[in-house]
């Protein structure tokens, strides 16, 4: 079967990181991927332009949930300037695999949603 569903990603899907409502947050942003119905909220606690804490909640496919787990993990402690710099290429590096075009929206949903905070 397809390599993108490697054990690492499935593990993050079965046992996601940073999943659930973040009680203390300064931002709550909705993300939706019409392609496959991924529907998440990203919670950010940003103080002095720095991400103190971050979580996500909602429903998504394995790639969406794995991507959101890693994204939230990596965002902790970043300044919002650093958050702005993160690209899909970084995401691929964290995941150790590249996605085909149809699945980028899934895996990058949490990142794109978090970056809405910059707008």
């Amino acid at each position: 079967m397809e390599d993108i569903y490697r054990e690492y990603i499935l593990d993050l899907y079965r046992s996601p990181l940073n999943k659930g409502v973040l009680e203390h947050h300064t931002h709550k942003i909705h993300g939706h991927n019409a392609n496959c119905g991924d529907d998440i909220w990203v919670y950010l606690d940003i103080i002095d332009n720095q991400v103190q804490n971050v979580s996500f909640d909602g429903v998504g496919c394995a790639l969406c949930v794995a991507g959101a787990s890693l994204t939230t993990e990596k965002l902790k402690g970043l300044t919002i300037d650093e958050l702005a710099q993160i690209t899909v290429a970084d995401l691929y590096q964290w995941l150790g695999i590249e996605m085909e075009a149809t699945r980028v929206k899934c895996v990058a949903l949490a990142l794109r949603t978090a970056q809405e905070v910059l707008k």
Partner: protein, 401 residues
């Protein structure tokens, strides 16, 4: 019996590749004879209809109007003039909802099952908003549309009852006749979306007694971009065209307009002529195969799929169990595996299914699910393809454990 399906498959050039196509509920494949009929039009008598006095146009007009008669007969309509060509079921329902605006009164209600495809829900919600109608949603019972609740909801204040002949998610066949009877005793219109029905069960609009019926060609082994809106003649007479322009007037000067007779007045602009010809050919082709074969083949698949499903308790089928009469349309969920992951992994094995809410978000919403994976079968599908699907699902299930 099994041999015949392989003869049928040979008529679909697209199947000459590694492909298990289980998405006919979204759009069916097209047999060679239908493609040929459209090619012949383009190569031999391509011209506009109803206009030219030369022989190409005469032939095109004859084929176009002949298609109308054939389709009328196919769905048991009393008159060919009741057939209006549209772009598809969605288009027909939009036209109807627009045209019926003049017939409803503020404060009346409209009945919409939550099982409806968006195409048979959103135009009516918009009509309700514009005309101040109360929407009465009808919910599920035991996993399928609560038909008794629907009957009970129809009252003296009901203007329109809309319902799909067959649910595009659950695959279940609704008892249209009893809905029509109740609607008519209360003076309401009954409008039926037949998009999922016409390729799988014989339909007679006269026998059902409905007021309007729509379907799309592209789910009927015919081309995309063509559909049919059938409306009972005495209702058509009361409707004003929602689209006006070319090819639908008898007389125009700078002061006056006189519309053409029914049905031309409802077909503004040059229609998709090749597609109409293709639709008529698809119907001929279907009738050559015959309902007896189509239904027995597809019901054989239904029984076989149920057998396979019963051996896999982790596959949860929507739409209740075997007791409910359904076409070969199976939407299912697997706990803890997202529908999109299932469809994607199936696609990697060249198995084409649909995932998500299937344009019927009401069902997902009331069931509290993100969506489902849907396999829909047609005239060309085989038991071997069911086996292929099940083996692939086994692998996916194992992988996610």
């Amino acid at each position: 019996m099994e041999d015949k399906v392989f003869t049928i498959r040979e008529q679909f050039p697209i199947l000459n590749q590694d492909l298990v196509y289980l998405d006919s509920g979204a759009s069916s494949l097209t047999p060679e004879v239908v493609l040929e009929s459209m090619n012949t039009y383009y190569r031999s008598y391509r011209a506009n209809i109803h206009r030219g006095v030369y022989h190409l146009s005469e032939r095109a007009t004859a084929e176009y109007e002949g298609a109308r008669s054939k389709i009328a007969e196919f769905i048991g309509a009393n008159r060919a003039e009741e057939i209006i060509f549209t772009r598809g079921a969605t288009d027909g329902l939009n036209m109807l909802a627009e045209m019926l605006g003049s017939r409803v009164r503020a404060g009346q209600n409209i009945i919409i099952p939550v099982t409806e495809h968006h195409s048979n829900m959103l135009p009516w919600r918009e009509l309700a908003r514009k005309c101040n109608l109360e929407i009465k949603y009808i919910y599920l019972k035991d996993g399928i549309l609560d038909e008794q609740a629907l009957l009970d909801a129809i009252d003296d204040n009901t203007s329109i009852v809309v319902i799909g002949h067959i649910s595009n998610v659950l695959g279940t066949i609704h008892n249209i006749k009893q809905v029509v009877q109740k609607a008519h005793t209360k003076g309401a219109l009954c409008i039926v979306d037949g998009a999922q029905a016409v390729a799988h069960i014989p339909v007679s609009v006269s026998n059902l007694g409905v007021d309007a019926y729509v379907f799309s060609g592209h789910k009927l082994y015919a081309p995309t971009g063509i559909g049919v809106l059938w409306v009972k003649y005495n209702l058509l007479e009361q409707l004003t065209p929602s689209r006006i322009g070319g090819d639908m007037v008898d007389y125009v000067n700078l002061e006056a307009i006189e519309y053409a007779p029914i049905p031309q007045r409802f077909e503004a602009g040059t229609p998709p002529i090749a597609e109409v010809i293709g639709l008529a050919r698809a119907i001929d082709w279907l009738q050559e195969i015959g309902w007896e074969y189509i239904q027995s083949h597809e019901q054989d698949l239904v029984q076989y799929i149920w057998e396979q499903i019963s051996a896999r308790p982790w596959l949860q089928v929507l739409g209740g169990g075997r007791e409910n009469m359904r076409i070969a349309c199976f939407a299912f969920i697997i706990d803890n595996i997202h529908t999109h992951d299932i469809a994607y992994l199936l696609a990697k094995e060249n198995i084409c299914v649909r995932s998500g809410q299937h344009c019927a978000s009401g069902i997902a919403q009331v069931l509290g699910i993100a969506g489902s994976t849907r396999a829909t079968f047609g005239i060309y599908n085989t038991r071997q393809e069911v086996d292929g699907l099940m083996q692939a699902l086994d692998k996916i299930y194992t992988k996610f454990q």
